[in-house]
């Protein structure tokens, strides 16, 4: 411990921080790890490789992957438009991007389910013109996760786009590059680490998302049942072991994703010259 600062209050503040962190976060989280020690390896494998659990992981991962990809494309365009162009109502538009952060997930869930259900506003249109049903199908999960993903992508790409040096574009232009070349060879490669970070953040959030999904998903086992819901179902059946095994697997995956995201953010800062 080398705190030769003249600042007062190291001991009380660090003490309180560690104590509170321990009580509110670390001890509760560690129960999951200790609880899983009660399971033998064979039990664990048996639970995780059951068909229903595997399909739920498949549903959660694919839905989150597609949603994060779609949100990345449209989120990038949105961030681009917000940073580079000016148009009427831009400020309101800008503020609305964060709505998925501010709106409780249960509200998002019932609203999206109402819009996309077969009798709903968009559900009816899509059904009549394309014969497409969204609610109560896996694609409904994707829709809910796109909603959740938008601000992650926009808010990660926006600051990098804002700080992007126009000198680099000018250099390209003066060397005779076309607009398309300036974009594909200069702008996009510089923005892509941030875009990838936004994608990863959206994906990580999407895999664990619960409230906005369960209303629109239909929750059919093997088809549109997500992992968090399966944990709830196991818990309601008093199958603590099953819930523990699934939850622990989820937790490990989340931490791996967190690690990847931290590395990505490190890469972004390094590229943009902040390190």
């Amino acid at each position: 411990m080398s705190h030769k600062s003249v600042m007062p209050g190291f001991r009380p503040t660090i003490g309180l921080t560690v104590l509170y962190l321990g009580l509110v976060v670390l001890i509760p989280l560690s129960t999951l790890v200790f609880e899983s020690f009660k399971l033998s390896w064979d039990d664990y494998v048996h639970i995780i490789t059951s068909k229903r659990v595997l399909s739920s992981f498949q549903v959660s991962f694919f839905a989150a992957l597609i949603a994060a990809a779609v949100a990345s494309v449209f989120g990038f365009i949105t961030a681009w438009v917000l940073v580079r162009y000016s148009f009427f109502g831009k400020n309101i538009f800008h503020a609305l991007i964060d709505l998925p952060f501010a709106l409780p997930t249960a509200v998002a869930g019932i609203v999206l389910a109402t819009i996309f259900q077969p009798s709903g506003f968009l559900g009816r249109l899509l059904n009549e013109f394309f014969g497409l049903q969204i609610a109560f199908k896996p694609i409904g999960i994707v829709i809910a996760l796109i909603f959740i993903s938008i601000p992650f992508v926009v808010r990660t790409v926006e600051p990098v786009l804002l700080e992007f040096e126009s000198a680099m574009e000018e250099a390209g232009a003066s060397l005779g590059a076309t607009r398309l070349q300036v974009f594909t060879k200069i702008i996009f490669p510089n923005i892509s680490p941030a875009l990838l970070t936004g994608f990863a953040l959206a994906f990580a959030r999407g895999v664990g998302e619960y409230g906005s999904v369960i209303f629109i998903a239909g929750n059919i086992p093997y088809v549109s049942e997500i992992v968090p819901l399966l944990i709830v179902i196991k818990l309601e059946q008093y199958d603590i072991q099953g819930a523990t095994a699934i939850a622990l697997t989820m937790l490990v995956i989340s931490f791996l994703l967190l690690l990847i995201i931290n590395l990505l953010q490190f890469w972004v800062r390094k590229r943009s010259g902040q390190l």
Binding site: P8, L29, H94
Partner: protein, 289 residues
């Protein structure tokens, strides 16, 4: 933020061609704006509008009756109680943690910062589940709690604990980067002039961080009032007793009480809009500082 400004005009002669390479053609510009606006309208404006439309679908009176139902009022009270307990606690923690992390050098500092962010990467359902493992009937302290007849799970304390966990990082993660960037020269000056630690904090640190602090509190409060997954696992969904507003939305929706569900949802949507407006104002304050 205007159209991307170019610091100096390119030299005459090949100016026009260079200019073309620096600006998006008009048709690209307008199609991108149209795509972005269309996407945001579909995914954000439409859902927001629908909450109000559905809540009022059977008239203002039906809306008002749904809002003033005993169960809804109880849900509002419980939601307020949860926020009143959790937000101040996490604010206090956020300030202490930010002070310890940004004002001192010690081993394991970046690890501690990572640990503070941990709740953000845990699925809400797992955030509730861990408290069931601790305090549920079959949980570690289940028997002990039963002998003293204390209820945590399926009751308000469990809801408060789960919310405390979920909203834990909000204030700290707003303050840490700002206080890091501020440095501590101003505080050192105050201390060397004989101000006490508390006095330094109130008169030097607090005025500098107040907008970021408010911003963190705002986000923390929005999540505390709106959390669904974690709370849903520990609550037990007992009408009039352990339903917060988001849970009331779910219960009413599952009972096909559309007006009831959307009436509760409209309060939460209103809260989200107020949060966004205040957030935008605070962002302006922060950038103008």
């Amino acid at each position: 933020m205007n159209t991307h400004s170019i610091s100096h005009p390119p030299a005459k002669g090949h100016g026009a061609k260079q200019q073309q390479a620096l600006q998006d053609p008009n048709w690209v510009r307008w199609s991108l704006i149209a795509i972005a606006l269309g996407f945001i309208t579909l995914f954000i404006c439409l859902p927001l509008g629908l909450v109000i439309y559905q809540a009022l679908s059977k008239g203002i009176e039906a809306y008002w009756t749904a809002l003033t139902q005993a169960d809804t009022l109880a849900a509002i009270r419980l939601t307020l109680l949860v926020a009143i307990v959790t937000v101040p606690l996490n604010t206090l923690f956020g300030i202490t943690a930010a002070w310890a992390i940004t004002r001192f050098e010690f081993k394991g500092k970046s690890f501690l910062t990572t640990l503070i962010d941990l709740p953000f990467s845990v699925s809400p359902v797992i955030s509730g589940f861990i408290f069931v493992l601790l305090f549920g009937a079959e949980g570690w302290f289940g028997k002990l709690l039963a002998t003293y007849d204390i209820k945590i799970i399926f009751s308000a304390p469990g809801i408060i604990l789960a919310t405390l966990f979920v909203t834990f990082p909000f204030v700290a993660r707003q303050l840490i980067p700002l206080m890091q960037e501020m440095g501590h020269q101003e505080e050192e000056a105050a201390l060397s002039l004989g101000a006490s630690g508390w006095k330094t904090f109130y008169s030097v640190t607090l005025p500098n961080i107040k907008w970021a602090l408010l911003y963190g509190v705002l986000l923390c409060n929005a999540r505390a009032m709106g959390e669904f997954g974690a709370v849903s696992v520990v609550s037990g969904h007992i009408r009039g007793l352990t339903n917060t507003l988001p849970l009331n939305v779910e219960v009413n929706y599952n009972d096909y009480d559309v007006v009831g569900a959307f009436a509760s949802a409209s309060i939460l949507a209103g809260l989200a809009i107020v949060t966004l407006v205040l957030k935008t104002l605070l962002e302006w304050k922060q950038t103008s500082r």
